[in-house]
């Protein structure tokens, strides 16, 4: 009997030990962050700017004393190892007591794979690039947050901008990468076009494999179809390859091209003027709001000095995510009298927060989904830069293009009307 009681007591202590993170903790020596991004392979063209921004922002935060006096120590995980490797690394890092927040991930596929794990392990996970609208769909997430917006407002914004700029569009072709992000974007973009202009015809839909080095056949197919508009959310080296291969073949002059992630290649490939590009959110470092923010100008200057190029929107997303995490810690500590917050207190602070970022404000809803404004424009020559910049911009309010909590996103898009689109700001209105 005594042995049984002792064993029960030990079991109870073990359970209490598991529950410890729910109670405020003593301040650690350092705050471990697991940061997931692509540091190798074709996707590194997008992932490395994120890592570079993380390095710089963490350096700046630590130089100012860290978060609540605690320095940040990042551990980077290369998503190029594949989902199984990413999951294994996530589990490993979660097992270390020092790691208290995960900044994950870049790839939509990895975001979706890690979300249930985050809930199971009760690990606060902030999706720095988890745009896929499939994340957080059920509204039940406690530990997964996404402050940088999602694919619904991102791609509806492109449809609205395109129709405002080119109201006589009749045919559209799509070339997107063959995975969740590419297919989701096509679904959303087509749904928005159908709602706003049902007569528009999609004449070609191509989904080349991610990492394809050669798009010559796809380019031939697109030019054969002769669409008014070519829409693409190719990214990373895939986008660079596509632009380099398509431009000499006249695709940019025969069709209006929309490159959803085109801002990431402005400094790398000579995009012609008039290409519709955006930043999947508000992360354009040259936007009026960004240029009016002293912290942003300092960050941009330091980034250029350190890395030899200006930050692109993945960099800004990562930097904004770190500011979001910092703000959550500060809010949680303010609420609990200055003690180092538990994971539960941290996620409570994230939910419902409104956090100023380098380029605007991110608002987190009760379903953990974040709302940010959407900036879209076209490439224009700049007298001050050796590369094209974004001009004729519009800035759509974050909540204007976002379905309500619990609402089916595609169903919501189908309710949009031309009158709604007409009520939104016009291209060139954001100065």
């Amino acid at each position: 009997m005594k042995l049984r009681t002792a064993l029960s007591a030990l079991a109870l202590i073990g359970c209490l030990g598991e529950a410890m993170p729910a109670v405020a903790q003593t301040k650690p020596d350092s705050l471990g962050l697991g940061i997931f991004t692509f540091t190798s392979g074709p996707a590194a063209a997008y992932g490395m700017p994120g890592k570079n921004a993380a390095d710089l922002m963490i350096e700046q935060i630590n130089a100012a004393g860290g978060i609540g006096g605690v320095k940040i120590v990042p551990t980077y995980v290369d998503e190029a190892q594949g989902a199984q490797g990413v999951i294994a690394e996530y589990r490993r890092l979660s097992g270390e007591a020092n790691n208290q927040v995960m900044i994950a991930a870049l790839s939509s596929a990895n975001c979706l794979a890690l979300a249930p794990l985050a809930e199971q392990l009760q690990m606060p996970t902030v999706g720095w690039n988890c745009d896929t609208h499939q994340l957080l769909l059920d509204g039940k997430s406690k530990y997964v947050f996404r402050p940088n917006g999602n694919t619904v407002p991102e791609f509806v914004a492109y449809a609205v901008y395109l129709l405002a700029r080119k109201p006589d569009v009749k045919t559209v072709a799509i070339i997107n990468p063959d995975y969740a992000f590419g297919h989701d974007a096509a679904t959303i973009f087509k749904a928005a076009l159908k709602a706003l202009r049902p007569d528009i015809q999609v004449v070609a839909e191509l989904f080349p494999k991610m990492g394809s080095p050669n798009y010559q056949t796809e380019i031939s197919r697109l030019t054969t179809a002769r669409p008014d508009v070519v829409f693409s959310n190719l990214w990373g080296a895939d986008l660079e390859n596509f632009v380099r291969q398509a431009q000499p073949r006249g695709l940019f002059s025969s069709s209006q091209v929309v490159l959803a992630l085109g801002e990431t290649v402005l400094q790398r490939v000579p995009l012609p003027e008039g290409v519709i590009v955006g930043v999947l959110g508000d992360g354009w470092w040259m936007s009026p709001d960004a240029m009016a923010n002293a912290q942003t100008k300092t960050f941009v200057g330091a980034y250029k000095a350190k890395y030899g190029e200006y930050p692109v929107f993945p960099s800004i997303k990562m930097a904004n995510t770190l500011l979001y995490v910092k703000a959550a810690y500060e809010a949680a500590m303010k609420k609990n009298g200055g003690k180092w917050p538990s994971r539960a207190e941290l996620v409570d602070a994230m939910r419902g927060s409104k956090v100023p970022t380098l380029t605007g404000t991110t608002v987190t809803r009760a379903d953990n989904d974040g709302m940010v404004d959407q900036i879209v424009g076209v490439t224009v020559k700049s007298p001050n830069q050796s590369f094209p910049v974004i001009g004729e911009m519009v800035r759509y309010k974050g909540d204007a293009l976002m379905p309500k909590e619990g609402q089916d996103p595609i169903g919501w898009i189908s309710t949009l009307t031309p009158a709604f689109a007409a009520s939104l700001p016009k291209p060139g209105s954001y100065k």
Partner: protein, 298 residues
């Protein structure tokens, strides 16, 4: 009718690159009777060396036409260095061994070469299109094509003819034919089979590296290129019949046509089309289009 010209040109230009990737594999199997799983790595190494040399030429503002020479030179360099080295130190140990052992050893080589590429060339993508820009473009049937793509088709035809002439009309080719036909007899009449093996393997490496280098001006180079190329090369070699050079050419056309037709008419099948073609051919002709059953000597 409007679609026929782009279909034909896209098929031929895709087939050219696929042929370069596969012909070396089938040549090596023909002579050495080794199925080299690492063959795709030679393609990607050729691409990396070609891209690196072209980037060097552009960065030093040398004559841009030197980039054409650089592409050819990179294939020669890769073949001269890696061909004899790998054949004499690793491939030679697989002769006469079972296919399973050959595959395991060459797979290990593939993994090593993939890591070597990452160490030497880094993990970022490379792109250099100077040769493509120099050659300009031409509108054919209302579609703009790169003159470089058309040049690739001509290059592939030249390689097919060149290999045919090499095998049929040169002393080296006759020696290879003798070794292929009866290795023991060739040795017994004094043919240095080791030298033939080195030369044949190096030629296979050269062809793969040439394909990779020639692909650079119209494609990017990134980690993983070797693996993708290897899978496609195997499909082509299987369709054509292992050891059949003309078979590799026809098989490359079939695979390219399957992929191009998928992109134009059924894009969702684009990734599987080449392998579906392989399956169909092998069901009808298990040894490939030009392959045949060979008696095993006991």
């Amino acid at each position: 009718m409007n679609a026929i010209i782009p279909l034909a040109l896209d098929t031929l230009s895709s087939a050219a690159l696929i042929f370069f990737a596969a012909v070396g594999l089938t040549l090596v199997f023909n002579v050495l009777r080794v199925l080299n799983v690492a063959h795709g790595s030679f393609y990607s190494i050729g691409a990396y060396v070609g891209a690196s040399l072209c980037l060097f030429i552009v960065s030093r503002q040398l004559n841009p036409y030197l980039s054409f020479v650089a592409l050819l030179f990179s294939a020669v360099l890769v073949a001269v260095i890696l061909g004899p080295l790998i054949e004499s130190t690793l491939i030679r140990w697989t002769y006469g061994k079972s296919e399973a052992v050959q595959i395991l050893i060459t797979f290990g080589l593939f993994l090593i070469l993939e890591d070597v590429q990452r160490i030497v060339f880094g993990v970022q993508s490379l792109y250099e299109d100077a040769p493509m820009r120099l050659m300009g473009s031409t509108a054919i049937g209302g579609i703009v094509y790169l003159n470089y793509q058309i040049a690739l088709i001509a290059m592939a035809v030249l390689v097919v003819i060149g290999l045919r002439l090499l095998i049929k009309h040169t002393r080296y080719g006759r020696l290879i034919t003798a070794v292929v036909f009866d290795r023991e007899m060739a040795q017994s009449i004094g043919i240095d089979t080791n030298r033939i093996f080195i030369l044949a393997f190096s030629l296979g490496v050269f062809l793969a590296a040439l394909g990779g280098a020639l692909a650079v001006p119209t494609s990017g180079v990134a980690p993983g290129l070797g693996a993708d190329t290897m899978v496609l090369a195997f499909a082509v070699a299987a369709i054509g019949g292992l050891g059949q050079i003309e078979g590799a050419a026809l098989a490359a056309l079939i695979v390219a046509l399957a992929r191009v037709l998928a992109i134009y008419f059924a894009p969702s099948l684009d990734a599987v089309a080449p392998y579906a073609a392989m399956l169909i051919v092998l069901l009808a002709r298990p040894y490939g289009l030009f392959g045949s059953i060979t008696a095993r000597r006991i």
